[in-house]
Symmetry: C2
Subunit: 321 residues, 2 copies
């Protein structure tokens, strides 16, 4: 199975993703050449997935390909940017054709969904690590940021947070699996980046962050960047039925402290709430109000009998061994 780097590129990467007219030169030269639309600002994000850290050893290759792009799509969604071009740096122990076929199928399917072209990359030998750089654009002056929220703004989250973290725990056998858990595993293996929602939110949201390290930790990052705090109502958290089936306390822990959701957490000023609901009906667009930003720093989670005491529960790569 001794594929040269040239063969690897020809067979798996040259036509991976969507064709785009704004790619002047794609995979195969020293750099890609791309047309950024006039009046737009370039948005750029990079994320790495390491085997044994961000996905279990032996994880499905199509899931790894999907997730490597999804985590970056989610970053661009949080800025309200439209994704366009990806670069893929893939470090592999060996060039196994079956693995590569599944990996690129997972990557390409999601890339085509969002009209993303793979325009460059690097394949190297070493421990399995996938780094995707995603480039996109957003009309100048309209990008969403973490720093725009203010006290009084309503706090929202998309989707049903906690599902992916529970799915990972199930994948790893860290959790008893009562009944149907396929849905939760799928939410870990194939998360749905909220690209269209992010773009539409540019008109309404004051602040936005993507939920990758856990809802509470990421909402707190948004609040800190905006110089405020937040109050969140535990009862208002949108918990999926399969997550609830794991038990109320566990479901709450996963929803607040789990990671890998790749949902959007965003804030909307009171005077725009009505327009938001009219333009993007919550039921149709899949987002839920979970709290309110407040002037006092920090995060408060309110239960039925007052404030809950919870660890922030964020996943930090170096502090938590």
């Amino acid at each position: 199975m001794a594929l040269s780097e040239f063969e690897l590129i020809e067979r798996y990467f040259r036509r991976c993703g969507a064709p785009r007219a704004d790619v002047r030169l794609g995979v195969g030269d020293d750099a890609a050449l791309l047309d950024c639309p006039p009046g737009a600002v370039l948005a750029a994000a990079v994320d790495t997935l390491v085997e044994g850290v961000h996905f279990p050893r032996g994880c499905r290759a199509d899931s790894i390909g999907h997730r490597a792009l999804a985590v970056n799509l989610s970053d661009l969604a949080a800025m309200g940017a439209r994704p366009a071009w990806a670069l893929l740096a893939l470090t592999l122990p060996s060039a196994e054709e079956r693995w590569l076929g599944e990996f690129t199928a997972g990557f390409a399917a999601l890339a085509r969904t969002h009209q993303v072209a793979l325009v460059g990359g690097d394949t190297t030998h070493g421990p399995l690590t996938v780094t995707v750089t995603l480039l996109g654009h957003v009309p100048a002056g309209t990008a969403l940021r973490r720093s725009g929220a203010a006290a009084g703004d309503a706090l929202f989250v998309s989707g049903t947070p906690g599902d992916a973290a529970a799915g990972l725990a199930l994948e790893q056998g860290r959790l008893p699996a009562p009944g149907k858990t396929e849905y939760l595993r799928e939410r870990f293996l194939f998360p749905t980046p909220r690209v269209t929602l992010g773009e539409r939110l540019r008109e309404y949201a004051s602040g936005c962050i993507d939920v990758s390290d856990g809802l509470l930790a990421d909402a707190l990052k948004l609040a800190e960047a905006s110089g405020c705090g937040l109050e969140l109502s535990a009862a208002s958290l949108p918990l999926s039925q399969p997550l609830r089936a794991l038990g109320a306390e566990r479901a709450l822990q996963f929803a607040l402290g789990g990671g890998d959701d790749y949902e959007l957490c965003f804030t909307v000023p009171a005077q725009r709430l009505e327009r938001l609901r009219a333009a993007l009906p919550p039921g149709q667009w899949g987002y839920t109000r979970i709290g309110t930003m407040r002037a006092e720093p920090g995060a408060r989670v309110m239960g039925e009998e007052g404030e809950l005491s919870l660890p922030a529960g964020g996943y930090d790569h170096f502090s938590n061994p």
Copy 2:
């Protein structure tokens, strides 16, 4: 030494590199926001360095930081593009402050030399791997490509190829070290990407590639992309004095087959040679004519007594175990 990801970013990455007015939003949000100049095409390249593959275990951290950026600067130089913004994905076994300080110092010094801002990144836990994505721009329609050379064009290389590969062999103790070898080691540890030369060559060169896998292999890639071949004169190769000191045959092998030079290999049509020499005097700009492109495919290396038979000597990450 339990640094949080937030502390890591604040301490080492937020002010790493050059400040630039075209960075609307740098390190710290979900994506960077960048102003691409009007009339320019975006150039994007990514390269990964893996410990034990692209640099020896225990290699100086400032060299790793320098090289991770240099290899990408060299890619952009080969397109004639001006570098602007970098994203750094750093996978680390542990967050050692001393190592991080040296690594970012090596990265930042080279970034400032070329006015590159670090605008985003990701730090993850795992085997030491460094992936840099470099973005830059080039006036529309002027980028250099591998595919523009034609039979009859003169073939050039910058610098003195082979030094870096010899330096690596010395670093790894694979080569006896007769006399002074510090120069060769330095060429491996701190290569000089030819950014300004690349930009200036836009006016003269028909084709260009950066020499990373070995001069002969990369010159052949340029020829193949251009649908032609090449003839190279061994006697014309610019060999450094320290490389010659290793012996004539070994010096030739390193110069043709070594890697990690990060020099530019480029072609110039006959009718532009005079203008090239007048505008960019070879002695001052450090480049040398080494051969001529020809219609027949493949590479011929001519010695004093006719054609030499040599392996292409390119470094392929998956075929060569």
